[in-house]
């Protein structure tokens, strides 16, 4: 099986799925905005102007101003950078942990497997949001801590997925052949098994980034995520909640941004799943 | 095209007196790879009280034919692309679903292949038999339950009162198949379609179930469409036998005639590899080559790639024994059936020229 042509075939199928393409476009759009916020707005996201508190959308401030007179559009653009990188880094951590645990459990089987999988079961018993909040209470809410916490509480699904893939892959002929040629465990795991689990991991990762962005925005919304004055979509919404009776724009736009980003990642993820394995379509 | 399948010219059994008459039935499926044909114009009939065997390898379209008769094919992906299914002179295909429900279970019923999976795991066996009475308004709930027990007794289910209250998983395959048979016969339908009724069972149980079917058939005077891959079974039970290959009936004849004088090379192959023509052998014998994928059926006779006549003709031509490829037609045209005796049809180019058309 040629990895290269499989990738091309997958991309071809992906490009034929209009929903997946739309999802990819949304994701790309927000990434560009996050990388080059000055393309859209020249306002300083942290400039306080007490004369312009809670102004509705206007030419000068297309998305209005917040309770400190800061430009909402500028804050959202810079918030995009924070929210997207939290989602990305947190999910990378989750994938990393899930990958190692899943590979070890699936490859070694037996006691190692049952021990690791019991650990997964135990972790799944905790309401994730409770666990995240509890850890934050101990180590405090900084951006890095938030990334770390979302990552270490969100790897269980990936671990189960990788374990299942590894279990079936290790019985395949090419693994036996590699072993017969004297390949070591590390080589078999990383050279032969890992690349074959990439497709489902990619799907899980895409959906996972969406999930991490949702969790981060929820935490920031509650005031225990990204801390002001650093803007994030979630903490702009906090101001929206506090001024719910006079400033609808503070609630509407950041939420819309979260919604579209998450929707984009979800559509892209589902699209990748269908493209990788067309049999699962419509499930 | 004088011998188009389904023209009434065929035989006495297919005349106006037929109970079931399937004519040029074509069925296709939509798959990931595009549309695939499963039935290429299947025609046969069943007379009242008659047992017709439908024999072929798995995947040849036997079950699709059965499900199509009861209109139980899932559409989509299945699609009926042509043909008629006459039952008591009425075409079933255009019937409204509600009328079709009246036919199912009451006029035509079906015994499924897998007793393990064709009983609902969350309903008791008694409930599932009784359902057939209530569905057709034959009687009230309580009476239906009593009649279900009566029928379980008739099919010799041990301890029927207790078994009626049990769930399918608590029973053996043989008992489940007895329950299925009770359900199928409960309203004394005029036609029962038995789709490999014994395939999933142990050998000893197979004989018992066939015996039961035989007995019930005589008692209830019903017609049976017996679908099987077991030539021994049709030999013992079927009045007439149809041989299916790749979505076509390649030969149909009174069973005795078919076993004595098979015309189609596929039938000949099947019979030749029955050891002593006894019933010990349950599997279809091996014929060289494999059944082509339905999505890639070659033009011409579907059996040509495995056919000894066709392969012989190719060898003669290649070795120069024969000046021309005298059976080249096999690769170009799908043969239509010709008559080789009363009610004996077979679709083979070679035999038509060798034996002469309409040889009686």
């Amino acid at each position: 099986m040629n990895g290269h042509s499989m990738l091309r075939e997958t991309l071809r199928r992906l490009s034929r799925n209009p929903l997946a393409v739309a999802g990819a476009a949304v994701v790309l759009f927000f990434c560009v905005l996050a990388l080059f916020p000055w393309l859209v707005s020249s306002h300083d996201p942290n400039r306080i102007d007490i004369l312009k508190i809670l102004e509705p959308p206007s030419g000068a401030h297309p998305l209005g101003t917040d309770d400190l007179g800061r430009d909402v559009l500028a804050r959202m653009l810079h918030g995009a950078r924070i929210s997207l990188s939290v989602g990305f880094v947190a999910e990378s951590i989750a994938i990393g942990i899930g990958l190692v645990i899943g590979l070890l459990a699936g490859y070694y089987g037996g006691k190692v497997d049952s021990l690791l999988m019991r650990f997964v079961d135990i972790m799944l018993c905790f309401p994730t949001f409770f666990l995240i909040l509890a850890v934050i209470a101990f180590i405090g809410p900084s951006i890095w801590n938030i990334m770390f916490i979302i990552g270490v509480t969100g790897w269980m699904g990936v671990a189960r997925l990788v374990r299942a893939e590894t279990l079936s892959l290790k019985e395949r002929d090419f693994v036996a052949a590699a072993r017969a040629q004297g390949a070591g465990t590390a080589r078999i795991l990383f050279r032969h098994i890992l690349p074959n689990t990439l497709a489902p991991i990619l799907v899980a990762a895409t959906l996972g980034v969406a999930g991490a962005i949702l969790v981060e925005s929820g935490l920031s919304f509650l005031g225990i995520g990204v801390q002001p004055p650093t803007p994030s979509w979630g903490n702009i919404l906090t101001a929206g909640k506090d001024n719910i009776e006079f400033a609808w724009w503070l609630s509407l736009f950041p939420g819309l941004a979260i919604f579209l980003t998450v929707l984009g990642y979800n559509l892209l993820g589902e699209g990748i799943r269908d493209a990788v394995d067309p049999r699962l379509k419509g499930r | 095209m004088p011998e188009t399948p389904g023209t009434p010219k065929t035989s006495g059994a297919e005349g106006p007196g037929a109970l079931l008459s399937v004519r040029s039935l074509k069925v296709g499926f939509d798959t990931e790879k595009g549309p695939v044909r499963a039935l290429f114009g299947v025609s046969f009939s069943v007379a009242p009280g008659e047992t017709v065997g439908l024999v072929g390898e798995s995947g040849c379209g036997k079950t699709v034919t059965a499900l199509a008769v009861l209109r139980l094919l899932q559409t989509p992906p299945a699609r009926i692309e042509g043909g008629e299914i006459f039952f008591r002179g009425e075409d079933l295909l255009p019937l409204p679903e509600k009328r079709m429900c009246d036919v199912r279970g009451k006029e035509i019923s079906m015994i499924f292949q897998e007793p393990m999976t064709s009983l609902n795991p969350v309903l008791t066996v008694g409930e599932q038999v009784a359902e057939v009475f209530t569905a057709h308004g034959a009687c009230g709930k309580r009476e239906a339950a009593d009649r279900a027990v009566e029928w379980l007794r008739k099919v010799r289910m041990p301890d029927p009162e207790r078994r009626a209250r049990e769930y399918p998983h608590q029973m053996s395959g043989g008992m489940r198949q007895r329950a299925m048979i009770a359900t199928a016969l409960a309203l004394s339908p005029s036609l029962v379609i038995a789709d490999e009724p014994t395939t999933a069972l142990d050998v000893t149980i197979q004989a018992q179930i066939m015996e039961l079917l035989q007995e019930m058939r005589e008692q209830e005077k019903m017609a049976v469409l017996l679908i099987t891959h077991d030539l021994g079974v049709v030999h013992d039970f079927a009045d007439r036998t149809a041989i299916m290959y790749l979505g076509r009936i390649v030969e149909i004849a009174p069973t005795r005639k078919l076993f004595a004088d098979p015309v189609h090379p596929y039938t000949q192959g099947l019979l030749a590899s029955l050891p002593g023509r006894n019933r010990g052998e349950k599997r279809l014998p091996s014929i060289p080559g494999t059944v082509p994928d339905l999505s890639a059926v070659p033009p011409g006779c579907p059996f040509a790639p495995r056919c000894p006549f066709r392969q012989g003709a190719i060898r003669r031509y290649q070795s120069g024994t024969s000046a021309q490829d005298d059976l080249a037609i096999c690769d170009r045209t799908d043969p239509s059936p010709s008559e080789y005796g009363p009610g004996h049809l077979a679709a083979c180019h070679h035999q038509r020229s060798a034996r002469g058309e309409g040889a009686r």
Partner: protein, 327 residues
């Protein structure tokens, strides 16, 4: 059946021990243990409060002794005293609020079940129809909407603009003066938005799940067999298919407990509902560690209980398990 339940509970014991180990680990993972924390949230981490902690955890003892004592107290629901000004027992504080949270969770779960199941059935039976497509799009949207944002929008719409529904608390200020019917109505009105929002996330997922198990069941032989008896489509779907398709959904409902509990932190905070979620949030904000650990443990315990109940429910609904244990 009883034996099945007992066995199912016994299997959970190692999980319970694991849960206690992790909760214990969380306390000790903080740099310098539970009292060595440099605080961002609560700068008033005084020396006196450190002493209280030290005494509570017995930090002079070796780790396994600390764990043993922690486990012993956990078994009798002794989570220590709250760090807050009132200094009450943590379990007492949880106890007076847990019912509110549980009843909202149960109501949400009932709503999920009542709406998602028919939705899933109808989508599956009419697969590919306009209804199914609209439902699919709605589900996708539902997955992506941040529910706390939806909460804000609904508060603006129904609370602020239309003024139809209250947006804070469980009862109105004048609750005590209302007649009985008014009291019930008042409570119900306060519950509408929180219960709907809590259910919203689950609705999308479970209706989707119901749809796919229905599609799976409809392909089974016994459905064709039921049709072959001449049963009308209605009976085939409801009597034969739905019963089987519901079985896995019972398990999934059990698995939705942790999500609902997590959601209650957000919604009880937004709607100022005096439940366990709000208490937890307040505990996190004020670094009330005994309270945090208490609720974390209770949350894990409830999740485990949800799983057990789901398994028992499954066993009751599936004769294959029920009769196996009886016989």
């Amino acid at each position: 059946m009883l034996r099945y339940v007992v066995r199912r509970v016994l299997v959970s014991v190692p999980l319970l021990i694991g849960i206690s180990l992790i909760t214990f680990g969380v306390i000790n993972m903080a740099p310098g243990g539970p009292i060595g924390i440099s605080s961002d949230l609560n700068p008033k981490a005084t020396a006196e409060y450190r002493e209280r902690l030290k005494a509570y955890y017995g930090l002079d003892q070796p780790l396994y002794v600390q764990y043993g004592r922690w486990l012993g107290r956990m078994a009798v629901l002794d989570f220590g005293d709250s760090f807050s000004a009132d200094g009450r027992k943590v379990w007492d504080k949880i106890r007076e609020r847990i019912l509110v949270t549980l009843s909202i969770n149960v109501l949400s779960m009932a709503l999920i079940f009542l709406v998602a199941v028919p939705l899933g059935i109808y989508s599956a039976v009419r697969k590919g129809s306009v209804f199914d497509r609209v439902a699919t799009v709605t589900v996708f949207t539902g997955f992506a909407i941040p529910t706390f944002w939806l909460a804000l929008l609904l508060m603006i719409l129904f609370g602020v603009r239309l003024g139809w529904l209250p947006i804070s608390g469980l009862v109105s200020l004048e609750y005590d003066t209302l007649p009985l019917a008014g009291k019930i109505l008042d409570r119900a009105a306060h519950l509408v938005l929180p219960v709907f929002l809590m259910a919203f996330g689950g609705l999308a997922g479970i209706s989707r799940y119901m749809r796919s198990t229905m599609l799976e069941v409809i392909r089974q032989d016994y459905i064709a067999a039921a049709r072959s008896k001449g049963l009308p489509e209605r009976a085939v779907v409801f009597r034969h298919a739905v019963r089987n398709a519901l079985l896995p959904v019972i398990t999934i409902l059990g698995l939705s407990v942790p999500g609902l509990l997590g959601g209650s932190v957000i919604f009880e905070t937004i709607f100022a509902i005096p439940g366990m979620g709000q208490l937890f949030f307040q505990g996190v904000m004020s670094r009330d560690y005994p309270l945090i650990m208490g609720i974390l443990t209770i949350g894990a315990f409830l999740t485990l209980l949800g799983n057990i109940l789901a398994d028992v429910g499954y066993a009751l609904a599936d004769p294959r398990i029920k009769t196996e244990r009886a016989g």
